[in-house]
């Protein structure tokens, strides 16, 4: 009985993992394919990686994507935090319900609609005030901020709701003016949430294809746009190489984050133990 169940569990696990990882393994495998035609194995080679690094197009797209992702993450974190604070801490102000509904709208809005409406906005602005004169870095960044900010606001909101308000009251009681309370108590306690929001915004921006294609102009190609446009002409081994590098970077990021969290947990457990031992 027990034996049977463990076999069943094991095969489910194996199937699940295979389902998740076979596509990626295939991708990595074919990135080392010597042959130019993807499904045919022509021997091991790293020439696609070399080619990739020699291609200025790829470098440009990568730098643009990273620039947009970084600027987006910073602005989205600041604005999203402010919005989250306003929603949770400043009580019942006029239009609070409307505001809170509106802030989460981008989360459920189809990306095509968001992209289209932003494109309309930029075109309208251009004819009205002459800005933006051309679409590219700034328009994509602004577009990304609008939806990343919504995610940050939601994260911050949930963290604030879990954070007892009496800490802020205690700080006020000890003589801290509201701004001091924000910088001394609220923000430090929100820092993990803000970091999570930053990372989320960064990745959201890095892998957005749809909205970016709507609001970009002729001069600006982000990495996802580049990959997509090349793939449309057929599978290509150099794109496989690019994707493999991205997978590697993400994997390292996840491992580092996991390691840091694990170490914090261990430290906490150690602290607790120490306390338990010292108190009679």
């Amino acid at each position: 009985m027990n034996q049977k169940r463990s076999i069943f569990l094991l095969s489910t696990l194996a199937f699940g993992i295979a389902f998740l990882y076979i596509p990626m393994v295939l991708l990595i495998f074919y990135s080392f394919n010597k042959s130019k035609i993807v499904p045919i194995w022509g021997g091991f080679s790293t020439k696609w990686y070399v080619e990739l690094f020699k291609s200025p197009e790829v470098w440009d797209a990568l730098t643009l994507s990273l620039k947009i992702a970084t600027v987006n993450a910073c602005f989205a974190t600041i604005l999203g935090t402010l919005a989250g604070l306003a929603l949770v801490r400043f009580g019942r102000f006029r239009g609070r319900t409307l505001f809170s509904g509106m802030i989460s709208a981008p989360l459920v809005m189809p990306e095509v609609i968001t992209g289209l409406s932003l494109l309309l906005l930029f075109i309208w602005l251009q004819s009205a005030i002459g800005w933006p004169s051309e679409r590219g870095f700034s328009t994509i960044t602004i577009a990304h901020i609008t939806f990343s900010m919504a995610y940050v606001a939601v994260i911050i909101q949930s963290r604030l709701a879990g954070m007892a308000q009496d800490l802020e009251e205690a700080a006020q009681d000890l003589g801290a003016k509201p701004l001091r309370v924000l910088t001394d108590i609220t923000l430090p306690l929100l820092a993990p949430g803000m970091l999570a929001g930053w990372l989320l915004s960064f990745t959201l921006s890095l892998d957005d294809l749809i909205i970016a294609s709507f609001v970009t102009g002729p001069g600006a190609t982000t990495l996802p746009i580049l990959i997509y446009s090349r793939i449309r002409l057929g599978l290509r081994p150099d794109i496989n190489a690019l994707a493999t590098i991205i997978i590697l970077v993400v994997a390292i990021g996840v491992l580092v984050a996991g390691y840091i969290m694990l170490r914090q947990q261990k430290q906490r457990a150690l602290d607790m133990q120490m306390t338990a031992e010292e108190t009679p």
């Binding site: 009681d173 000890l174 003016k177």
Partner: protein, 381 residues
């Protein structure tokens, strides 16, 4: 010639003393709900004042209005003669110790305690000295570098106390300060609190729903019920002379009898109760109509229990049968069934070992209960 009275320990009796905190017909509404209902309260410098009452009666709300976290819906609060209505929490001369301690989790114990002084721009060397002193007063020297999550409940509570006290506030508000502690630590800390209060002369307002704690700690107690004060007085006054059934039942135990005034003399009243049938002779006069419906409260420890009929009168005596005996070590509790199925509770000290007492009182034995004319309290509401 009138004797010069010493009011130092009882400033509320001094007609000339000016209250340090004046709460004047303060109400607080949350929507339709009235949490605090037009209360008046005078608290004098150096008092250790307890707010006592059941859950949800508005104690925390009143305290939060004193600290400035809630604005009164109506009425005024004066502290040291200054109207507090428009003064924000960070400018009030009060500090609060929170029910949850509210220690800053990202700061060490030392920095938690120093926080208030830093906000007041106290010079660095003075901060160092005052924080160190305060931390050794609450005996936390070896924990100064710890973060709050590395402390036990009792240690956290002492940090919270130190953090509130180090600013030397004129008033310290404590919301159920000892709620999370076990009995031994609780008693020790009660003692510490009283010591600190005497040393520093701070005015304490303590919220609690533990009546024993209130009796031990306070100079005066206010018993609160559904947003109003039922009675304000010293622990003795509240215990010995409760002014209503609510107070009598809330503070300690009381046997309650419903009856009617049948005789009203200048120095005594007689109350007749029908269920159980019994007459109470009370040795103080009352300005009350004969025939009025009243209640008589009788504390369990003020009733004598014996197997022989008391020699004197028939009033203040009742016969019954022992239904239950609870041995509590220092005292024993008897539940005696009188006149039908009415139960009266009696506690009596075990001066001798129960076996050696002569004659021992046992289950289902017939006994006589009696009390003094000054023991019972007549209540009109």
């Amino acid at each position: 010639m009138a004797e010069a009275l010493d009011y130092t320990d009882r400033p509320w009796l001094d007609p000339e003393a000016e209250p340090f905190i004046k709460v004047q017909s303060v109400s607080k509404h949350f929507g339709d709900f009235t949490a605090v209902d037009s209360v008046d309260l005078d608290i004098y410098k150096g008092e250790l004042f307890c707010l006592l009452g059941g859950s949800g009666c508005g104690k925390s709300t009143l305290l939060r209005m004193l600290a400035g976290f809630e604005t009164p819906s109506s009425g005024t609060i004066l502290i040291d003669g200054q109207n507090m209505n428009d003064v924000p929490p960070y400018e009030r001369p009060v500090n609060m110790m929170f029910q949850s301690y509210a220690l800053f989790p990202h700061m060490t114990v030392w920095n938690n305690v120093a926080y208030g002084l830093r906000r007041d721009k106290v010079p660095k060397s003075e901060i160092q000295q005052r924080v160190d002193e305060m931390i050794s007063m609450v005996e936390l020297d070896q924990f100064a570098k710890r973060k709050p999550h590395q402390l036990s409940g009792g240690q956290k509570q002492r940090v919270a106390l130190a953090r509130a006290l180090v600013k030397q506030p004129k008033v310290l508000l404590l919301d159920e300060p000892l709620g999370a502690l076990d009995k031994r630590l609780r008693e020790q800390t009660q003692y510490e609190l009283m010591n600190i209060q005497e040393q520093l002369g701070v005015t304490f307002i303590v919220v609690t729903h533990d009546q024993e704690e209130a009796m031990t700690l306070s100079t005066r107690i206010a018993v609160m019920d559904t947003g109003r004060f039922q009675q304000i007085g010293t622990p003795t006054e509240i215990y010995e002379f409760p002014n209503s059934r609510v107070v009598a039942n809330f503070i300690g135990n009381a046997n309650m009898f419903e009856g009617r005034i049948i005789e009203n003399g200048p120095d005594h009243v007689i109350v007749e109760s029908n269920d159980p049938k019994c007459e109470f002779f009370v040795d103080h006069g009352m300005s009350i109509q004969e025939g009025t419906k009243v209640w008589v409260a009788l504390r369990p420890e003020k009733v004598r229990i014996s197997k022989e009929s008391p020699a004197n009168s028939s009033a203040n005596t009742i016969r019954g049968m022992v239904h239950d005996i609870g041995y509590l070590g220092g005292t024993s509790t008897y539940r005696v069934q009188v006149d039908g199925d009415h139960m009266i509770e009696i506690t009596s000290p075990n001066m001798m070992r129960p076996r050696d007492a002569s004659p021992p009182i046992d289950w289902d034995e017939e006994v006589y209960l009696s009390w003094d004319a000054s023991s019972s309290v007549v209540l009109t509401k």
